[in-house]
Assembly symmetry: C3
Homo-oligomer: 131 residues x 3
């Protein structure tokens, strides 16, 4: 059993899923275990990073574009190879502990969908596993 | 309990594990849960990325070589520090949902072993956890 | 239920958690399953990489600094955006199989906390899930 979130992205960047994932964990009534947040797409990823200062998200967009720039030797004719490369670095899922029917995040952590090829309609799968 | 796949890699690149992992999930008779695909090596990784156009794999090899190039200040005398760096970015495992005794992948997703230091004989561990 | 490790980091680099995680797995009496090692911070990560030659860790520090350098266009006024970018590439958690009440690591693998913004007092959460 799993839940599906739908997110309409606009430009590339970070979309905070934390509140919606917390709601799913609470409704699962699972006291203790893990929660896996999974993207079934190949040009957006899931990551955990800072939730306080939006400038961090601004800077990470620059950082990933510099680390994985477009390149004239790329062959993929959809023109989004850079997005695919970023997804394999960011990852397609995150695993977070569940305690007391809630996500056990650090105080500065949030769970993000990271859009590298927007705007698109994205789905995110969420599953809670009891221990 | 876990299963072991053996993959003989040749040159660096992407080796599609999806069919073999699907067979393991089907034979497990586990209706719903998660499947973890794990590499016990330190110069190859596991990732989920596009399954349709082989040019994506071609482009990702270039992207990771540009992001983590060989460097004259590296000390490790096996000469594969770049491969180790790529593995920590790609990751040593992937987690995929299991529903109806099958992997719940997105339509464009496949599970890959990514070889950064081939040719080698690689093992991949696969485990299915019921929820 | 989960365990908390406390690590006092000094300079940036790799801190081997393997022995302490093995102790937690052994004391859990869980024969077979998975172990998740999780960082609740946003400027350090968790990775699995080589345990034999300390030069690999030296080289990976260089590799990640080159892939995600400081940049004059960064806005985050704590000045650690590069660390945040590295964390999203390395990841905030690792998942390792448990068999016979032990971590099923490859012969050259260790589990590391990777400090990108030290010195700091870091916590690492560890949970063992039976299959």
């Amino acid at each position: 059993m799993y839940h599906t979130l739908t997110i309409q992205t606009q430009k590339d960047g970070f979309y905070d899923l934390t509140g919606k994932v917390r709601d799913i964990v609470a409704s699962s009534k699972i006291e203790s275990g893990i929660c896996v947040i999974y993207s079934p797409h190949t040009s957006c990823g899931i990551t955990i990073n800072e939730n306080a200062d939006p400038d961090v998200q601004h800077d990470l967009k620059i950082a990933y574009t510099q680390a994985f720039p477009e390149d004239s030797s790329y062959r993929h004719n959809e023109g989004n190879s850079s997005a695919h490369a970023k997804v394999s670095a960011i990852g397609s899922s995150a695993t977070v502990f569940v305690e007391k029917c809630d996500l056990l995040l650090g105080i500065w952590q949030a769970v993000y969908l990271v859009e590298f090829d927007g705007p698109r309609t994205r789905r995110v799968f969420v599953k809670v596993i009891a221990e």
